[in-house]
Symmetry: D2
Subunit: 233 residues, 4 copies
C-alpha cells in the first residue's frame, strides 16, 4: 500500500551520485526491503528523472523532491504535479532548504497537489516559518534547521528545542498538521529522540545515501522509529 | 543512431499535458516514425520525469529541457547532467526563455555537459544575447524571440532579420556554432524559410504538441526541412 | 509625528517616472499637505534612491518599498534595514507582489526590522498567504490581489470577500495584526468600502501617482478614509 | 569633472555599515580628497539609498552598485536607470557576483543605461564569462573571481592569469572594452601589478571600507595606480 502514514521515515535521495539512476533503484529496493521486514513506513524521494522507474519497481511510497507551482503548459524545464503523479509519485516534498520557494508558490503547490490527490510535505527552516506554513494547510510539515543538514549532528539531539518549539507553534495555528523533522539524523537513537520529542517521523538523506552499508543504516533508523513510536508523548 | 546532427528538428514537449507521461511516449514514437520514414533528424525534449522511459523506447536522440549547473550532491530538487545522462539523454536545452539562467550558470552547464559528453543547445532571446552566449562555446545556439513563442507567427517569416542578425553576430564571435531557431514555427514553409535564411534547424513545441494530427504536423515540418536543406545558402 | 498608525493611507510610488526624483519629492509634499489639512494618516513609500531627500523634507512617515533580508556587509546592490533607517525611513513594505521574497527571507526581514525599531508592512496576495504570514508577527499585513493591481477596479468593491476572508483567517492565527488592503483603489468610495469591510487602511499607487490632479485624488481618498473610519465595524 | 576615465579606481561601498549613511558621505569625501591631491581617477559606488546625498556633495563620479533591467513603472522595490541618473549617478555596476543577473537582463541594462547616457561596468566571474559579456558592448568589464573577493589575496598577484586570459579572450570578441579587475586588492602593489598585467583600473571594497585609515589606504592604492599607469604594456 503506497500510503504515506506516520510514523515514517522519508529518505531524500537529493542528487547524490550514490542515489542516481541504477543506484537510486537499488537504494529504493533496500528501503522497500527494510520497510517490509521491520514493518515500518519508509518513503523514498528520488530525483525527478528517476521517479518513474522506481515507482513502477517498488511497493513503498515514492515522493518527488520538488514540484513547480505552475499548471501544465508552456513551462520548459518545469516539474508539474501532473507529471509526477502520472510517473507514480504519491506526493512531493516542497520548499526544501536547498530548493526554496516563495510563499505564494508554496500555497499554489499545496492547493494543486491536494486537488490532484497528492500528499505534500512542506519543509521549513525555523519554528516560526513552520507555523506560518502550517496555515496553508499541508498535511505534513518537515522542520529542518539548514545549518545541521548533512552534518551528522542530529536536530533531535543538539537542538531539541527546535522540534518542541515547532510543535508548540504549529499547534496554535493548525493542530491537524503531521510534524516530522530532519537535519543531521543518522542513527536509530536520533530517530527515537525525535519521536520522544513529539515528531511523527524523520527526513533523512546523507545518513542513508552515503552510508557504506545503506541497508544496515536503514535498519538502525527503522528500529529507532519503532522504539520511539512506543514511547511517544 | 542517437546523434544530434544538423539539419534537425527539435520537438520541445514543455510541460504540456498532451506531452506528459503516456502521451509523451506516444508523441516520441510518432517523432521516431517520421524521422525514419522521411530520413530527417528529429530529436525530442520531454520533461525530466519522462526522459528515462522515452530514451529506452525510441531510437532518436532525447534531450533534457534543462539541467542545473551544480554537480551531483546535496541539491534537493535538482536535475543534474549525470542524472539525465544515465537516464539516456544525449544532451540538453538550457536557458530557454521559460527557464532562464544566469550567465555564470550557463557557462557551468556548458562545461559540465561537454565534459560528460553531452550536447548543449543554449537558447537565446536576442541576436546580441546569442552572440554573447556563443563565446561560451556551446555546439548549438537556438535563437527564439520570446514574444513569438506559442503564437503560430513564425520567426522565420515575421522576423527574418532576427535569424540573419544572429548568424552575422555569432559568426564574428564563434563561427563553429550550429545555429537553429524557434518561436511560432508550425508549418513546413516556416522551416524551409528558416533554413533558407541560414539556420540549420528548428525548435518547435506547440506547433506539434498541440496539433490535432501530431504525425501530420511533423511530416509537414520534416518536408520543409528537406526542402530547406537543399536550398541552404 | 512620523508614526505609522491606523487608519491610514500608504502611497506606494513604485518606480513610476511621475514619482521619481524631483517629482517624488513634490508628490511627498502633496501627501504631507493633505495629511495635515484633513488630519488623516498618510505615509509615502518612495524608491530607495529617493528616501533620504524625502524623509528630510516632510513630516509624514516615509517607508521603503522593500528591504533585503541580509545584514550589512558584503552585499553589493543590497538595501539594508540599517541603510533605510539612517536615511530616515520609519519602516518598509516587504513582499509586494512586484518584489516577492521567500518565506524564510520575509521572516528575517520582520525580525531584523523589529529589532531596529522599524515598522513592517508585509504584503500578501491571497487570504491564505496573508494568514500564513501573520504567524511571523509583523504589525501590518497588506492584502493585495495582484490581478487587480493597477486596474482601477478596487478590491473593496469587486472582490470584498478577499478582505473579509483575510480578516477572518488572520484573526484565527494572530489577532494583533493591523490589516490593510490594496489593488485597484482610486477613489474615496473605494477606501470607505475597505474600512467598512474591516480593513484599517489602504495601499494605493497608480490611483494617486498617475492622477492628473494628485492632490485632488489624495483628498478624495482621505475623505473616504474619514468616512470609513466613522463607520468601522 | 564627473567622467569615468581609465586608469581608475572604483570603490564599491557594498552595504558595509562603515560605508552607510553619514559614514558613506565621509568616505566619499575622502575618496574625492585623494583623487584631487594625487590627480587620479577615483569613482565611488554607494548603496542606492546614499547616491543622492553623495552625488550632490562630491565632485568625483558616483556609480550605482546595481540597477534593474526594467523601465520605470509598476515595479515596487526596483532601482531604475532613470532614478539613479536623476539622483546624480554617472553610471552603474551590474552583475556583481553578489547581485548576479540573467544575461538577457544584463543586455537590457546595458542598452537602457547607454541610451540614458550612463556608463555601465559589467562584472564577470571568469574570463569566459567576461568575453561573453563583452559581446553585449558595455564600455567597461570588471573581472572578479568571486573566491578571492574580500580575502586580501589580490587577483593581480595570486591569479594573474585570470587577468591576462580575460584580456586575451575579450580582445577576440570586442577590442573596444575597457577591462578592470578586482577581488582581494588592498595595496598599491596589488594595483600596480594589475595595471602591469594590462588592466586599466581596479574595483576595491573592503580594502578601503574596512581599513582603519581609509584615507591612507586610498593613497596607497592611488600611488600604485600612478606607478602602474606609467609602466602599462
Amino acid at each position: 500500500m503506497k500510503v504515506l502514514e506516520p510514523p515514517l521515515i522519508i529518505v531524500n535521495f537529493k542528487t547524490y551520485l550514490e542515489a542516481t539512476g541504477r543506484r537510486a533503484l537499488e537504494l529504493a529496493k533496500r528501503c522497500e526491503k527494510v520497510a517490509k521486514e521491520l514493518r515500518v513506513n519508509v518513503a523514498v524521494a528520488p530525483q525527478a528523472v528517476d521517479i518513474a522507474v522506481i515507482a513502477s519497481s517498488v511497493s513503498i511510497p515514492v515522493l518527488a523532491q520538488h514540484v513547480d507551482p505552475h499548471p501544465p503548459g508552456a513551462y520548459t524545464g518545469g516539474v508539474t504535479v501532473e507529471a509526477i503523479k502520472e510517473a507514480g509519485a504519491v506526493g512531493t516534498l516542497v520548499n526544501h532548504s536547498e530548493k526554496r520557494l516563495r510563499i505564494d508558490e508554496i500555497d499554489e503547490v499545496v492547493k494543486r497537489a491536494k486537488s490532484a490527490g497528492l500528499e505534500v510535505i512542506v519543509c521549513a527552516s525555523t519554528p516560526e516559518v513552520a507555523a506560518s506554513l502550517s496555515a496553508l494547510k499541508p498535511r505534513f510539515i518537515a522542520i529542518e534547521p539548514p545549518e545541521l543538514i548533512g552534518t551528522g549532528r542530529a536536530v533531535s539531539k543538539v537542538r531539541p528545542e527546535v522540534i518542541t518549539d515547532t510543535i508548540k507553534l504549529i499547534k496554535q495555528v493548525n493542530p491537524e498538521v503531521v510534524i516530522i523533522c530532519g537535519a543531521g539524523i543518522t542513527s536509530g537513537e536520533d530517530v527515537e529522540a525525535a519521536l520522544r520529542l513529539g515528531a511523527q517521523g524523520v527526513l533523512v538523506a546523507s545518513g542513508v545515501v552515503k552510508a557504506k552499508d545503506q541497508e544496515g543504516a536503514l535498519k538502525d533508523l527503522a528500529n529507532g522509529l519503532l522504539r520511539g513510536a512506543k514511547s511517544r508523548p
